[in-house]
Symmetry: C2
Subunit: 525 residues, 2 copies
């Protein structure tokens, strides 16, 4: 038998060997991913301090080639809360080290994205990255660093402390990477435009390698309340999470443990759950057996009477903003926006927002135009792998809503949650968790019913218009001929008759004009 070698590798090494799973597959997509990860870190860094974000992204080409794959320099500057110097090296050069593992909504979820961008730059150019940051105090810290991939640790080459005379606050990240701007430009610009739409309180500036400026000024200075950390909702909390909560609990009894460590659990609920689990109310939380933990989690699953999770940890886009955004983007004839009530999966609350638009500048197509957002960031790749696509294309029978393809139909979905169940580390497609799928279906059905009503009206109007066209075309002729037959000089007025058919003046005028044009054509022949 062959000898089998075993080894253990570090997370940095894992992602180095498998960078495709973090979205860094081609020079084009890697550039898009790098920009995305750093911009999203910047947005988070501003929002957490309730600062209106100002982000400047600068991309320049270091090589000679005019297009295609080349070495680029990427610099992202923000006015966020900054990173304390003792955390800078690890935050930017250690995989799975981050500030983002709390129970609140944020764009980054993995403590991975920024480091991954730097890692990609390092392996394609072998040059160190520069990170400059200040929390607004007396000092600005500048680090030049690389990632020790085997050890998953930072290698710091330079650390400079600069006097912060102007009390600047923020972070600047600058590094080199192999990229392909011409192949990713469209996606990058779309990313900035959509991000600006979902974050109207942010100012975003992008200077591209040709020196072109893309500027998205802030539309409002009102920053939403930063998402709060919240207690977990009991529904869906699994044994592992429960064991961790129990292990660190300071409560003396299970009754107070349940009431103090979960949202929406009052005394009555706690009592009933413990009864269902056959666990005494005064039991010490740290002394639960393996068996009892399983019973408790099982009882919570079966209980079924919890109130909906607290949405205060969520920051949805909001119906108004979504409506304005979609109108700007698509200028549709019909638009219906739904915000579903908060729901939860695996103990995480989430809110689904959906906009359904029809007509206007939406292109007529055999498929639905889908615009996806998650925690206010646009998702532009891997659309067909996303739960929104699944729901829009498989779960809704559009023919029952009077939509006949090809049709000018667009759907905008936004899912916000302290934890988006992404399918990929690259954060491009959301998994079809049954709870999320259910909410999307409900939202889309509601919107689709409104669309059906609209399309029925359009249909009726069209039928009426067709009738009117016929009336308008022939009634004047009939009137004229009748007058001639009756030897009267003036044909009788038919306006009243038309009105009695339920046709208003504007429609009459329009139809008349059309009919006249037709008549003129006829006479001209």
């Amino acid at each position: 038998m062959p000898e089998v070698r075993f080894e253990k590798i570090s997370p940095a090494d894992f992602f180095y060997r498998n960078r495709d799973i973090a979205g860094f597959s081609s020079p084009a997509r890697s550039l898009y991913m790098s920009i995305r990860e750093l911009v999203e870190n910047s947005l988070d860094a501003a929002e957490v301090g309730k600062i209106t974000p100002s982000i400047i992204v600068e991309l320049s080409c270091e090589g000679n080639s005019d297009e295609g794959v080349d070495i680029y320099r990427l610099k992202v500057e923000d006015n966020g809360i900054g990173v304390a110097p003792e955390h800078i090296p690890k935050a930017f050069a250690t995989v799975f080290y981050g500030s983002k593992y709390g129970y609140k909504q944020s764009r980054g979820t993995f403590g991975l994205g920024g480091t991954m961008a730097l890692l990609y730059g390092q392996i394609t150019t072998n040059r160190p990255a520069t990170v400059i940051s200040s929390t607004g105090g007396k000092e600005i810290h500048r680090f030049v660093l690389m990632i020790d991939i085997v050890k998953n640790e930072p290698k710091v080459f330079e650390h400079e402390v600069i006097e912060n005379k102007n009390r600047w606050r923020g972070t600047i990240v600058e590094f080199h990477l192999e990229a392909d701007y011409s192949a990713s430009k469209a996606k990058i610009i779309q990313y900035f435009a959509h991000t600006a739409m979902a974050n109207p309180y942010a100012s975003i500036m992008f200077i591209d390698p040709k020196g072109r400026l893309y500027y998205y000024p802030r539309v409002t200075t009102e920053v939403p309340e930063p998402p709060k950390e919240a207690l977990p909702h009991p529904v869906g909390v699994d044994v592992e999470t429960m064991s961790r909560l129990l292990a660190t609990a300071r409560d003396r009894s299970m009754l107070s443990f349940l009431m103090n460590n979960f949202q929406k659990v009052g005394e009555k609920t706690a009592r009933e759950v413990l009864q269902l689990a056959e666990i005494p109310e005064d039991k010490n939380p740290r002394k639960l057996s393996h068996e009892e933990v399983t019973r408790l989690v099982d009882a919570i699953k079966r209980y079924g009477k919890f109130r909906a999770p607290d949405p205060s940890s969520l920051s949805p886009i909001g119906k108004n903003l979504l409506e304005v955004g979609i109108r700007n983007m698509l200028n549709p004839d019909f638009l219906y926006v739904v915000q579903r009530p908060p729901s939860s999966y695996s103990g995480y609350p989430f809110v689904v927002e959906v906009g359904l638009a029809y007509g206007g500048s939406i292109p007529v197509s055999d498929t639905i135009q889908l615009y996806r957002f998650a925690n206010k960031i646009p998702l532009l790749y891997d659309e067909r792998a996303d739960v929104s696509w699944k729901v829009a294309s498989e779960r809704i029978d559009w023919s029952t809503y009077k939509v006949r393809f090809p049709a000018p139909i667009a759907i905008v979905t936004h899912i916000c949650s302290p934890k988006i169940p992404y399918k990929t580390v690259g954060k491009e497609a959301i998994a079809d968790r049954p709870e999320i799928e259910r909410e999307l279906v409900a939202a889309l059905r509601e919107a689709a019913r409104a669309l059906r009503l609209y399309l029925s009206k359009v249909e009726k109007r069209e039928i009426a218009k067709r009738k009117l066209d016929i009336y308008a075309r022939y009634l004047p002729l009939i009137a004229k001929y009748s007058a001639e037959l009756a030897d009267r000089k003036k044909p009788p007025s038919i306006d009243k008759l038309l009105k009695s058919l339920g046709i208003d003046e504007k429609m009459v005028e329009e139809a008349k004009k059309k009919a006249l044009e037709k008549l003129q054509e006829l006479y001209a022949e």
Copy 2:
């Protein structure tokens, strides 16, 4: 400013918090994933020892519910090479610990899949898993274990050593998990059927929760040579890999380093590369500066004259086997199979095989039926995110190949490589690495040209047939009427005439029959 907390988490904790990215999103898909991961480990464990794999998968329901989400017991048994006892706990209960990080083709790539299945079972049922294994020696080892998620370490509850009287060799993994068999049954059966197709030397048995047996016997006992470990191909090797190779090199000069550590690099090539990199041939490999490493990697990229990578580390399905498999599966009217010559990306060789099928039992559809395989395993989820889908639907303009949708067209793709660039940890979609995309496009174009030829012939035949139909319908009538007009009792023979039109007897008979039917219909009216 708010205080920001930083923390570092273990890989096990990362995947616990983000199990969707490993494909464990719903109880249905998690069951499919668990079966997949364990079956693929089993196939690898047999093939590495050149053993004809015999795999038995047993799934039983522990709960009362007849369908839907419930607790299931999953047991996978193989006759592979077994795992040495000192490695069992870590191999099954540590993330990123595995035997699979060598440079050869295998199904598992992450040292993650099996552990992930057990992790999923643990967090949904809180029960330990049982692993029984023997390398065929005197002892069988039985472990009962769980994963310490925070520490990414195994927790062993029991370790039993059993006398191996019959010299049994193999591995049995058994654990409980929350699953939904009724919702995943179709995919699971499809997975087994396609796996059997691509691995005809394997015997696979699946006993489902209702006691139904799905048995795929081996069709051949010829096991392919186990994939060998090979030296990396220089094209695409990045700075990190180069630095690691240099650090552990035993060669005294750069010239011998290049010749001994890469495939397809002879003395001449090595000389030319070093000249291009401006590195002396006798330089000590362990004394290269940062700058020089970058120059070396850059020179390799620019060199452009390397021979194709060695395909001996690859194990493609093969044209014949692929053809037989596709015929069995789809029974098409047209089939063209292409095996591309080996190519490479990032230093990894790969081979693309493509089958293009048309007609037969392929359903007529607006889209192409796509069957994807990677290293002989079927990929059943996230089709639209895969490079094969991109190439088939976006890169090929089917209308230039005379394909008019809806059409009965199917494509089978197989990519084999020591390292498949999966987009997801769940190994369902392959990234669009430019090199792989290029090979797929080339293969599909070749097949599509053959299809165009076939469709042209069919088209010509159809036109000829339509003409024939007309001749066959009217010539007998004309003959009959002419005979009547000429007062002859028997119409003249028209067989010769028909033949002179280039129409053979079979076609004549067919057309006559059709024409007669038509005439009978006419007379009946």
